[in-house]
Symmetry: C2
Subunit: 158 residues, 2 copies
């Protein structure tokens, strides 16, 4: 790990940056952990509070732009996040996705879903099905800073 | 490859099946290729004709239920499909996702997206943004049976 503790400093190499790509210019969320290959941020989404994003540090568009070792490192980290979410929150399901239609810089969404959440079983990009009476984060088994710390610690160990 | 040619016969072990899970009971699309670990089907979706699904043969819910070797085999196959879509169709973007909120049996969506498609840049699960004047499949660079054959051949080689 280059910088296991949360830090606002990005390790993106300037030569691998696109000057017009927001994920080359900004963290893309609350920085939780990073290595020279990837960073993990938590996304501020009131409907889906346990929403992490693994962002590849270099500006590549597609998962298949990674070589085999990079792809394995990427999915090992994604899987590590998923395991923490399962262990800490016992979600109904974990959703993984890399879309990038709007920002074609490789990033993976890792989202804990619950049968009580606003959209379940719809995808988070689909239609909402219900309104909650309280903020979604209050229904998680763990406070978000503690969850961030567990994700960071697991990524440091993995 | 256990059965590289398209075949309606599933290789799922009965002991790994759930009697109530549709992906344990049915192919889940047009079968394109399979091994003892996974099968690849093409999904009949008129809006997104170049839509493949890798379905894990055993009934597991989450990607992190796979061990390291299984996860690597899974993502190698997903990446192989993505590479064929990119090479054959030059899509604007490829979307990868494993959600499973409705059918919690591990399956990966691999979808070629185009800036002209009905939803782009929205996710396929989001709102449609336009209507096409002709069937989407007519705008692909390749006929779907030929695309299936390229996917099957690549999965056999990979």
């Amino acid at each position: 790990m280059n910088s296991p503790a949360p830090s606002p400093t990005l390790t993106v190499s300037p030569t691998a940056c696109s000057t017009t790509c927001p994920l080359c210019q900004e963290p893309g969320g609350l920085l939780v952990a990073q290595t020279p290959l990837w960073r993990v941020v938590r996304v501020a989404d009131e409907n889906f509070p346990a929403f992490y994003r693994l962002i590849w540090q270099s500006h590549v568009a597609e998962f298949s732009d990674l070589d085999e070792a990079q792809a394995q490192a990427c999915m090992r980290a994604v899987t590590t996040i998923e395991r923490v979410l399962r262990s800490a929150l016992s979600p109904t399901k974990v959703n993984l996705a890399t879309l990038g239609n709007v920002v074609p810089h490789l990033h993976w969404h890792v989202i804990a879903r619950f049968d009580w959440d606003s959209h379940f079983p719809n995808p988070v990009w689909g239609a909402a099905l219900r309104e909650l009476n309280e903020p979604a984060w209050t229904r998680l088994a763990l406070a978000l800073p503690d969850l961030d710390a567990q994700v960071a610690a697991a990524l440091q160990r993995h």
